[in-house]
């Protein structure tokens, strides 16, 4: 083990929600929101996690952060296992693993001034800060592109993009190793979205922070990520370097997803694989390969055996029986 361990290492992570049986004895069973996913993120790397609503991508993020307790699996942060830590120890670990959610307004305390929002983690955790808290807050404001005169404002006095900058400043305050971005730019207008995306990239270059970038937006994920994982009904169906995943997608679901994305070019309409139907319920998932009910090339085998994620060459992993290699 000469190599440095990945910043974040997730192994066979699962999260199952039990469904209570109804009064009439109907129901029962479980939602397999996340079903044994594994990935690792290195320092300074961004892993994109894409999929449609209900695929489990947000639950995965929450389970890693232990905002919801994982049912099974391991989470390692900088070579240390954190999924079994007690509340007190986990609280200290939260310095290294931060989160940015979609809606900045609901992530900010409306009664605190901007400077106190950013200073709060510093007061809570850092015992000694060179230069003091004030200077560090000013530095963070500068880094995320907020003006010093905005420090005394309340969250409602900021625009959506500025609020997200404020959330990012707070997430950066304790110099975390990894930040989980859950649809962090999805609610922003494109012009502002571009500002925040560029900001995240610059911060990564400056600090070496790793990102788990969870999003439904394929184009945004392609832009920000180094590697990308695609989820469908709780499982990762494909994971590869960005160029390989977008250039030669191997899983039929990834292919369909990419071909469904509208292209901003009136002459660029490609031949579409339009998937039939919708994502099945995670309570009642199809047997074998979960995607087979919508797959244009499903075979008999797909109903029987769950395909495992395997390397098809060049660190490109696909979970599909029909992919050679």
């Amino acid at each position: 083990m000469s190599q440095t361990p990945p910043v974040l290492d997730v192994r066979d992570l699962s999260k199952t929600f039990a469904i209570r049986r109804s009064f009439f004895g109907r129901g029962g069973g479980a939602v397999h929101a996340v079903d044994g996913i594994s990935f690792a993120i290195a320092e300074g790397e961004t892993l994109g996690l894409v999929g449609e609503s209900g695929c489990g991508k947000s639950t995965a993020g929450r389970a890693i952060l232990r905002l919801t307790e994982p049912t099974a699996g391991e989470v390692w942060l900088d070579g240390e296992r954190i999924d079994g830590l007690g509340a007190g120890e986990m609280r200290l670990k939260r310095r290294d693993i931060q989160v940015v959610f979609q809606d900045p307004y609901s992530s900010l305390n409306p009664r605190l001034r901007a400077r106190d929002i950013v200073a709060e983690p510093l007061r809570n955790f850092a015992s000694a800060i060179p230069g003091g808290i004030e200077e560090r807050v000013a530095d963070l404001f500068d880094r995320v592109g907020l003006r010093p005169d905005q420090m005394d404002r309340f969250p409602h006095e900021f625009s959506g993009g500025q609020r997200q900058r404020l959330v990012i400043a707070r997430a950066l305050a304790l110099k975390p190793r990894v930040i989980i971005c859950d649809e962090a730019v999805s609610a922003l207008d494109v012009s502002v979205q571009a500002q925040v995306i560029n900001l995240l990239a610059r911060l990564q270059r400056e600090t070496g922070v790793a990102f788990l970038f969870i999003s439904h937006d394929l184009a945004v994920v392609e832009h920000v990520s180094h590697r990308v994982a695609v989820m469908y009904l709780g499982r990762i169906v494909e994971i590869a370097d960005k160029a390989a995943l977008y250039g030669q997608p191997r899983h039929p679901y990834t292919q369909a997803l990419l071909s469904a994305a509208p292209v901003p070019d009136p002459d660029g309409r490609r031949d579409r694989t339009i998937l039939k139907g919708e994502v099945p319920s995670p309570i009642n998932r199809p047997s074998g390969c979960h995607f087979r009910t919508r797959c244009p090339s499903a075979a008999a085998e797909c109903a029987k055996v769950s395909p495992v994620l395997r390397d098809v060459g060049g660190n490109h992993h696909v979970a599909c029986h029909l992919v050679e290699g």
Binding site: E52, S53, S159, G160, G161, Q162, D189, V190, S191, V192, Q193, A194, Q195, I197, N198, A201, H216, D217, L218, A219, V220, E222, H223, V224, K242, A243, A244, L245, Y246, G247, Q248, A256, L257, L258, S259, A260, A261, P262, V263, P264, D265, P266, D267, G268, R269, R272, I274, L275, G277, E278, V279
Partner: protein, 340 residues
């Protein structure tokens, strides 16, 4: 005569901080069978325009002036009763969030039927038959069963199909679609866009498509209107707009959007539009985009530019529009006016 002709539409809202000019002198027209897209970011006035066309602006706090002529009749001059006869029949609508647009305590069949009974005066049998036909048309599996279901029993994509079925039940001549696929997953969005394109192509319905998504615009529209801070800043046929946007705002919007590259080269950085949208309560004298514009000059700071022709069927409100592609070589970029 166009199907829809809007002239000098002004919509103002009374707010705590003053009168907000949500739409400030908008003119546009839509022909039968044509899809006109209105694009812009939050607060540019695109949804307010939709509400004004449909006569759904909140009473008491808003005021609309100008004319909105639909088949020659000024919709703004109609009484509520008259408008009710048109809305849902000749002019119908699809909104972003089907769950809030559908009545949760009525079955799907009742809701589609309501439109038909109200506008077409159909009996019970005929209504049900037509509702069933509409559900089939929009590609809902097991339509007989779905008729008896409530909105919460349907998925998001199915609900949006029901909305489209309702909107098209009375064969409207104009459809207003406000972010019709924004809440949907991409694979479902692709299905719904295909469906709408197909239905509109078959029926010759005119459509105003309101969206912030240039991908959806490219898929659906023939003509595009770009709005900024309540005003139309550019209008062109869809190909021209994407090939050669002339307003710096349109250009910046297109550049700031990350694109799928199919594994190819992508720009390191996205183009940012610095700053934020101006408050709509401020009186407009100079160009409203000037503080954020890389091409701004002194003229831009003194007078709002007129909306004028800048090419074949291409109009722009800008003193220093982006050069045309063929002229770009001949006319080097004026360096002094560009920010680094």
């Amino acid at each position: 005569m166009s199907l829809l002709e809007i002239e000098g539409l002004r919509v103002q809202f009374r707010t705590a901080t003053g009168v907000s000019r949500a739409v400030d002198g908008l003119s546009l027209s839509v022909d039968a069978g044509q899809v006109l897209a209105i694009v812009g970011e939050s607060g540019c006035g695109k949804s307010v325009t939709a509400m004004a066309i449909l006569g759904l602006l909140p009473e008491g706090i808003s005021r609309a002036d100008g004319t909105i002529r639909f088949e020659g009749r000024d919709l703004l001059a109609l009484t509520d009763r008259e408008m009710q006869k048109i809305r849902g029949k000749a002019v119908s609508m699809v909104f972003q969030e089907p769950m809030t647009s559908l009545n949760p305590v009525l079955t799907v069949g009742r809701q589609i039927g309501e439109t038909l009974r109200l506008h077409e005066g159909l009996g019970r049998r005929a209504t049900e038959a037509r509702a069933l036909e509409m559900l089939r048309l929009v590609g809902i599996p097991e339509p007989e069963r779905r008729l008896k279901q409530y909105p919460h029993e349907l998925s998001g994509g199915m609900r949006q199909r029901v909305m489209i079925a309702m909107a098209l039940a009375c064969n409207p001549r104009l459809l207003i679609a406000d972010e019709p696929t924004t809440a949907l997953d991409v694979t479902v969005q692709a299905q719904i866009l295909d469906l709408m394109r197909d239905l509109i192509g078959r029926t010759g319905t005119g459509m105003v498509l309101i969206t912030h998504d240039f991908g959806v615009v490219a898929e659906m529209a023939q003509r595009v209107v770009v709005m900024y801070a309540g005003r139309k800043v550019e209008e062109a046929p869809v190909r021209d707009l994407f090939a050669a946007p002339r307003h710096p705002y349109t250009r910046a919007l297109l550049d700031s959007m990350p694109r799928l590259t199919e594994g190819g080269e992508a720009p390191e950085e996205l183009t940012e539009i610095p700053g934020v949208v101006p408050a709509l309560t401020e009186p407009v004298r100079a160009c409203t985009f000037e503080p954020r514009c890389p091409r701004a000059s002194d003229q831009c700071r003194t007078l709002y530019p007129p909306f004028r022709e800048c090419g074949d069927d291409h109009m722009v409100a800008c003193w220093n529009p982006e050069p045309q592609p063929d002229a770009a070589v001949a006319e080097p970029r004026r360096q002094g006016e560009m920010k680094a």
